[in-house]
Amino acid sequence: MRKVHPFELLFDIFNAALMIAVVLIMAYPFLYVFLYSISDPSRLKAGLMLWPQKVTLNSYKVIFANPVIINGVYISVARSVIGTITMLMVTGAAAYAISKRHLIGVRFLRVFFLLTMYFSGGIIPAYLLIKSLGLTNNFLVYIIPSMVSVFNMILIRTYVESIPASLEESALMVGANELQIFVYLIVPMSTPVFAAVGLFSFVNQWNSFVDVQIYNFMKPDLYPLQYILYNYLMSQSQSVEQAKRSMNVSAISPQSLKTTITIITILPIFFIYPILQKYFVSGLMVGSIKE
């Protein structure tokens, strides 16, 4: 065996310490919020902690009894699920169509979609357009504008093009049309890319709150969890009492309330995170092959 150089040993120790430090910096903030949310507020002192103080799920009970939060959960789930499915349908169908070189105007269409990745009319014209279409104060503003994702379209198209053409040709022989081929052949054969793209869309929808702030802030019924938390965080910096009243909860401390909503909002992403991380790495690969 090779003798380990003392300098190398020193480096390994330093490196291990650094990695532990990085992991702590990444994970501790989330851990702290979690510990706070399950601690008894009366026992909490301000300051860092490594384990919960007198575990209680009281704040979770209070929050899940709150109709505002329950409605927020519904809206968050609805926009994430419906938004993802409709995006997959519209974007997936277009991706399949423009993967066909013989489609009329296909070169124009590809440029037409691609260009939108490099420019946009900007916040204000988009806002005025959406307002004039009657999509403000409307649940559909979460769904319709995000039905087309050009980035996802490219990912799906790249995948679809890798499916052997002979399969499609034999389907055409037996008299299937392209609609049937898309639904019964292309979609089932492209599940990996649809799953990956769908997951990211789900996360994006789940994490959105800017569109609520711009288009739906007058409509509390349509607030997803992220926006409820956003509102609460912002109003808290102004007046704790007012925020507490608006949430109609006085049983728990504002900081417990906040950490608890934060954890509830993180939870779905936390559970799909292992798959997400795995898919992301492969998604990046697809992207770099394309490049």
Binding site: F11, N15, L18, M19, V22, I25, M26, F30, Y32, V33, Y36, A46, G47, L48, M49, A93, A94, Y96, A97, I98, K100, L103, I104, F112, T116, G121, G122, I123, I124, P125, A126, Y127, L128, L129, I144, P145, M147, V148, L172, N177, E178, N207, S208, F209, Q213, I214, Q226, L229, Y230, L233, M234, Q255, T259, T262, T265, I269, P274, L276, Q277, V281
Partner: protein
């Protein structure tokens, strides 16, 4: 197969082709219409920057005012200077700092002996990237708010500070805060890309180097780093094309009245004047200025990119 028949000529044949491809056309149509409406129609909205637009009327109903709105941005206040300075300072530092630190971090991950530890480190560092800015703000607020933040309280109790630092509110911390938060948020994402380029290094290069007696440091310097540099350049060039896009979500949570002078970026300024103060023409004009500067930067970076790495980013 239908499309492999003899190439058709003339109008009649075009109709025939349309008829044959009706299902394909049907499949692309919804995306086409939606893109037309939500991506191309707003471009017509640029007209309102040159007119006195009134809410409720068509984009083209206002009286022509020429470049008045554009001149206001540059002449009447210091806003233009502040906004451009803040946007560039925070985005350039985040980009350079984020890529630089991820570069070094990836080199160090590679040197971790155990494969399982490597995986765990990667999984944990990637996590913040998938969190919304509301969540990130909430977490950061819990740690750094002046009175109740855990770290501030800890430092005060330990006697390091007399009173908590107002990191989230004081304008002198804005840039540091944003740059550090961005590095924290994107470290996992950037290192995944760098680690992918490291995994492309042929293993026999390392074996040959070992036979020649090279140590770990020499292998890193002469083999790993040269393989990572092209990736670094590509990432740097691609990201710098978007240097004026700050992401409304991030600044919506971090900007407040007390730190606005050093925290407000293009997108927030447009948002504040357009959506909040309903000064639509002015906000659109600022948006156009942002787009034009972006295009110039993108074009310049593209030229540079062609020269440096002989690849075009557009």
């Amino acid at each position: 197969m239908a499309h492999q028949l003899k190439p058709a000529k003339g109008r009649k044949n075009l109709l025939l082709k349309l008829e044959r491809q009706k299902y394909l056309i049907l499949l692309v149509l919804p995306a086409f219409v939606l893109t037309l409406i939500f991506s191309y129609v707003p471009l017509a909205g640029w007209y309102i920057a040159f007119s006195d637009y009134q809410l409720g009327f068509s984009f083209f109903a206002g009286k022509w005012t020429g470049l008045e709105q554009f001149l206001i941005f540059f002449r009447e206040t210091n806003d233009a200077y502040n906004i451009i300075r803040n946007t560039l300072a925070m985005n350039v530092m985040s980009l350079v700092g984020g890529l630089g630190i991820a570069f070094i971090f990836s080199l160090l991950i590679k040197e971790v002996g155990s494969g399982r530890a490597k995986k765990v480190i990667q999984i944990i560092t990637f996590f913040p990237y998938f969190m919304s800015w509301v969540i990130l703000y909430s977490v950061i607020y819990s740690l750094f708010s002046t009175s109740s933040g855990a770290i501030n309280s800890f430092l005060v109790d330990a006697g390091v500070l007399k009173e908590g630092l107002n990191i989230l509110g004081d304008k002198k911390y804005s840039w540091t805060l944003i740059v550090l938060v961005n590095i924290w948020n994107t470290l996992g994402y950037n290192s995944v890309i760098f680690l992918a380029s490291i995994s492309n290094v042929p293993t026999d290069l390392y074996e040959a180097a070992s036979i020649d007696g090279a140590g770990r440091l020499q292998k890193a310097i002469y083999i790993t780093i040269p393989y990572m540099v092209p990736t670094l350049l590509v990432l740097f060039i691609m990201n710098s094309g978007w240097i004026l896009n700050s992401g409304l979500d991030q600044y919506l949570v971090f900007t407040n009245p007390t730190n606005r002078p050093t925290m407000e970026v293009f997108d927030m300024y447009i948002y504040r004047y357009g959506i909040k103060l309903m000064n639509y023409s002015y906000a659109t004009a600022v948006g156009i200025i942002k787009s034009i500067v972006s295009i110039i930067i993108l074009y310049g970076v593209n030229l540079l990119s062609k020269r440096v790495s002989s690849r075009s980013i557009i």
